[in-house]
């Protein structure tokens, strides 16, 4: 009997094979995942969770109250940013976190007073960080904008905080 091709969509029972590992997708995006976009439809998708750790500096000595600083290179719009910061001289430091809002209940921080201020710790419910550099000189700040590639920090100078503040952040979405 001569060989003949058979149309698998006709005249047979069972499940018809689907190409490309059963996905039926003609192409995908490198680094992405499969995700249901409907009850039965698979498509390429970015991960639901992304994170980026980074570093930036802010020169308090040359800065002034109300300064803003755009932090870019994050690669996505953060839903939350964890921030710790320090000043190499005098050793003040702070840890804090801010969600993707800019209101009172979106942020708070813990601040370690420097040695000139009796090595005490305090908290702040209105800022994502605070650096008490000496006497009554304090730098405070919070995130005022969340954007597609990062976030913008706005600084508040109380009197004259000095030195260069160094920040490590973890942005997540």
């Amino acid at each position: 009997m001569a060989f003949a091709t058979i149309d698998v969509t006709k005249g047979i029972t069972g499940t018809i094979p689907v190409a490309n590992g059963g996905t039926g997708l003609a192409s995908g995006t490198t680094g992405q995942f499969l995700k249901f976009t409907g009850t039965t439809t698979l498509a390429s998708s970015t991960s639901e969770i992304q994170s980026k750790a980074g570093y930036f500096t802010y020169n308090m000595s040359s800065g002034s109250n109300g300064d803003t600083q755009a932090i870019t290179g994050v690669g996505f719009t953060p839903k939350a940013v964890f921030i710790n910061c320090l000043v190499n001289a005098g050793e003040p430091w702070s840890v804090g976190m801010q969600g993707d809002g800019t209101g009172t209940y979106d942020k708070n921080s813990l601040t370690w007073y420097n040695t000139a201020n009796n090595n005490e710790m305090t908290y702040n419910r209105d800022n994502a960080f605070g650096l008490w550099t000496s006497g009554s000189d304090i730098l405070r700040g919070s995130i005022t904008t969340f954007g597609a590639d990062g976030f913008t920090v706005t600084y508040t100078h109380q009197n004259s905080p000095s030195g260069t503040a160094e920040f490590m952040y973890l942005a997540v979405r």
Binding site: Y55, F56, T57, N59, T68, Q69, A70, T72, G73, V74
Partner: protein, 68 residues
Amino acid sequence: MSDIVRVCIKKSNNEILEMQTHDAELGTLKNNLVNNGFNADELEEKKLNPEQLDELLALEVNSSLRRL
């Protein structure tokens, strides 16, 4: 640390005025400083690899940013 950092320096003495990790488009740091009162003509923003950053940190004006 990221393989590439961006710095904005004061051209007159190579002081690092701002530094950020990650390879984003140039211009952010300079704009930050201009918005905060610096003259654009006195600033230079550039991307550095770790070796180039070490050269800048070796300058006394940038000593506070050195790692021990």
